[in-house]
């Protein structure tokens, strides 16, 4: 009942999950974020930076489970400019343009958000202390 009430009214514990991202020369990168057991998320936004010195395609996908067997959808995918570019959901702009609001994305336990930086060929690589930020509301749900 508490879980249902949580979605009838604005609720949930706001979390901003910051992840350091290191990109290496001629190598693709994937970071997976899985909704823990007993939790339900309302995704607010995802930001993925490109700290490399060449453009990379950054793709955000949602899968049903951590094993990524069943893809639910591609949420954003576009070329992100070197150093200054950002891939952001829900805007999907691939630039430093502002993100949009009022898109509701509910994720169940096991759902996995997978962010992939494409292999760009030769590059210097780079690391960003806040290269991936996932912002969501989290509530506990009973089985």
């Amino acid at each position: 009942m508490v879980g249902r009430m949580a979605w009838m009214f604005p609720a949930g514990n706001p979390i901003q999950e910051v992840t350091s991202v290191t990109l290496v020369d001629t190598t693709a990168k994937t970071i997976d974020t899985t909704v823990p057991a007993g939790k339900r998320w309302m995704l607010i936004g995802i930001k993925a930076s490109n700290p490399d010195d060449v453009n990379r395609i950054i793709t955000i996908r949602k899968y049903k489970e951590a094993a990524k067997t069943n893809e639910i959808k591609t949420m954003a995918s576009s070329t992100v400019t070197a150093t200054t570019g950002k891939q952001q959901w829900p805007s999907g702009a691939g630039t430093d343009a502002e993100t949009q609001r009022q898109v509701y994305e509910v994720a169940e336990a096991g759902n996995t958000y997978s962010v992939t930086w494409s292999d760009p060929g030769a590059s210097t690589g780079g690391t960003a202390a806040d290269g991936l930020v996932t912002e969501y509301l989290e509530v506990a749900v009973s089985a």
Binding site: E17, V18, T19, S20, T22, L23, V24, T27, A28, K29, T30, I31, D32, T33, T34, P36, S49, P51, D53, A66, T83, T84, T124, G125, G126, T127, A128, A129, D130, G131
Partner: protein, 59 residues
């Protein structure tokens, strides 16, 4: 739970939460320490908030 791909072996390995930030750690498959990878750090460009020389001379 966060996992990242290891550039050494290509497998997915868990990341470590350190002071509120998820960071690379030793790969659970090939045992290479991903935190030791040396690449340039991204430094966000910040605008120069100080007026150029001479601009404020009239004030």
């Amino acid at each position: 739970m966060l996992k990242e791909s290891c550039p050494f072996c290509g497998e997915m390995t868990e990341m470590l939460l350190v002071e509120g930030v998820y960071k690379s750690t030793k790969c659970s498959h090939c045992k290479k320490d991903l935190s030791k990878i040396v690449v340039p750090k991204l430094v966000a460009e910040k605008p120069d908030l100080k007026a150029p020389e001479g601009v404020l001379d009239e004030l």
